[in-house]
């Protein structure tokens, strides 16, 4: 089985981080995996996206053009990639930043006000992890506890304060009923 994912939004939202967490968990689970970022001026705050492929087979082209899962965290990304999602795939939209509704009926669309949830819960900047929580619930790609453990093992001791925030964000996203 192969799952192609695209994470897209503004630079600074943690788009590349989200993709990296997926890739890491898949690697720990013994899957083949690739992570390909957009690079260049995007790093300075423009549009950012990354392609993640998780597969039981060898990964061919690492560039995802028609994703099984699309995470859209800003309007330009939504407009650019909404039509590219494979039929039967998932589209996860940060509805606090994107006030559009998809007219597609052949995909599963989920609206989660991740950025608003992050500020309400005093974990600003963690909308990306909230979205990851929802993604886990929708797709069942990884076991919740395993994914959480994988994510936390990447946090160095000097940043221990981030552990609770990440836990909270992932839980919020997972438990949100879209």
């Amino acid at each position: 089985m192969t799952t192609a994912m695209l994470f897209a939004g503004f630079g600074g939202q943690g788009i590349l981080f989200s993709g990296k967490q997926m890739a890491k968990s898949a690697m720990y689970a013994g899957k083949n995996v690739s992570w390909l970022p957009s690079y260049g001026p995007e790093m300075r705050g423009g549009a950012a996206n990354c392609s993640v492929i998780i597969s039981d087979e060898e990964v061919g082209s690492p560039l995802v053009t028609s994703p099984d899962v699309l995470v859209a965290m800003n309007l330009p990304s939504y407009d650019k990639f909404e039509t590219s999602v494979k039929a039967g795939g998932y589209l996860i939209v940060d509805s606090s930043l994107i006030n559009k509704k998809s007219e597609r009926t052949d995909i599963n669309v989920c609206y989660i006000p991740a950025t608003a949830l992050a500020s309400e819960n005093h974990i600003e900047g963690m909308a990306n992890v909230i979205v990851l929580g929802q993604l886990l619930k929708l797709t069942g790609l990884f076991d919740y506890d395993t994914f959480l453990a994988d994510m936390l093992r990447g946090i160095p001791e000097s940043k221990a304060a981030l552990i609770e925030k990440n836990k909270k964000a992932l839980e919020l996203g997972y438990n949100y009923n879209a």
Partner: protein, 353 residues
């Protein structure tokens, strides 16, 4: 088995260099290669090595030459425009018979071009990276794992043949992350560097590292000797991966990241019943001529797929030598071909068979 780590291709080259004993890096930053020097700037001091950001690419390649002349392992890296700047120094390094590793994480050209992935420096790497009769060993990794493995291979072969080796990758391979297993580093028997200018302490005759020979006969003799080594390399060191070529009517030839796009396209074409396979050159010089010659005997057509306007296709045609038609598909300027577009080309060729 050692644990896999998720790394960028640029970082994998850097880590591999450290793991195989390289302690000197000289470079100048350029997208999409910069993570390589960034990684070494952090790591080299911790292992007693030196990572130096030179004032220019020209300075960096000449520092590389100096370090190589002293017999130590040394690496430099850049991206396309920077490699053009280094080309004079690379010719001197080849002319001095010095081993070193030069990394080119290619981007779109010519000129400043762009910063997205490209393979348009194929001619430069395999034909004209500097003036004079010279060759570089050219390795074309296709995954982050190979970025690491072939770096180690490049250091070894450079030492064995006393010549510069190039890792010719691209922005996608440099920037992407994949799991890497460094495992055990294969240990090779390497020749002693008794030619190195590293201080004779009055205990031996002095070694001189030089590329200047005013007497044309002397220079011809030296170049001839070098070409004997090149001939041996062409005989023994060409490497490629053959993928589903056995029954293939159409054989693709593709390297680096493009070969992975082709693999995806081949999977889709096979599902439609089209007999298609691929030869993926792992060394671009020496070019795997024999494998391509053999494939051309049974294939009905061949297709070179590149991120350029068609450069490797010249080597494919030379190897095929008219035995079957050779077609081309490519994108350039930083565009990565899509598997769908390659599949479309395969279908069109199948229809012509």
């Amino acid at each position: 088995m050692s644990e896999k780590v998720l790394m960028k291709g640029n970082e994998a080259i850097a880590e591999a260099a450290i793991k195989c004993g390289c302690r000197y890096f000289f470079g100048y930053p350029i997208t999409p290669q910069t993570e390589l020097s960034e990684y070494l700037a952090k790591k080299m001091p911790k292992v007693g090595g030196l990572c130096l950001q030179a004032e220019s690419e020209v300075a960096a390649i000449n520092m590389t030459m100096g370090a190589a002349a002293s017999g130590t392992r040394v690496i430099t890296s850049s991206s396309s425009p920077g490699i053009s700047l280094k080309s004079e120094g690379i010719s001197y390094i080849a002319g001095c018979d010095l081993p070193c590793v030069i990394v080119n994480i290619q981007r779109g050209g010519p000129g400043l071009g762009g910063i997205q992935p490209s393979q348009a420096d194929y001619y430069q790497a395999t034909r004209g990276v500097g003036h004079g009769d010279l060759r570089l060993l050219v390795f074309a990794p296709s995954s982050v794992q190979e970025m690491a493995q072939l770096t180690i291979e490049a250091f070894d072969l450079a030492d064995i043949y006393r010549m510069p080796a190039m890792i010719l990758a691209d922005g996608a391979l440099g920037q992407m992350m994949e799991p890497v297993d460094f495992g055990a580093i294969p240990q090779r028997e390497l020749p002693a560097k008794d030619w190195a200018a590293c201080g004779h302490e009055n205990k031996r005759k002095k070694n001189i590292v030089n590329s200047l020979y005013i007497d044309p006969q002397e220079l011809e003799n030296i170049v001839d000797q070098r070409y004997e080594r090149y001939a041996k390399i062409e005989e023994t060191e060409a490497r490629c991966e053959e993928y589903l070529t056995e029954d293939a009517d159409i054989v693709l030839v593709s390297f680096g990241i493009t070969a992975r796009v082709c693999k995806t396209a081949i999977g889709a074409a096979r599902a439609e019943g089209i007999k298609v396979g691929m030869i993926r050159p792992i060394t671009l010089w020496p070019f795997p001529k024999k494998a391509i010659q053999t494939a051309a005997c049974s294939a009905k057509a061949m297709l070179s797929v590149e991120m350029s306007k068609g450069q490797m296709i010249d080597d494919v045609r030379l190897a095929v030598n008219g035995q079957c038609p050779v077609e081309f598909y490519g994108r350039t300027g930083g565009m990565i071909p899509t598997p769908d577009a390659v599949l479309e080309k395969i279908r069109a060729m199948q229809a012509q068979l």
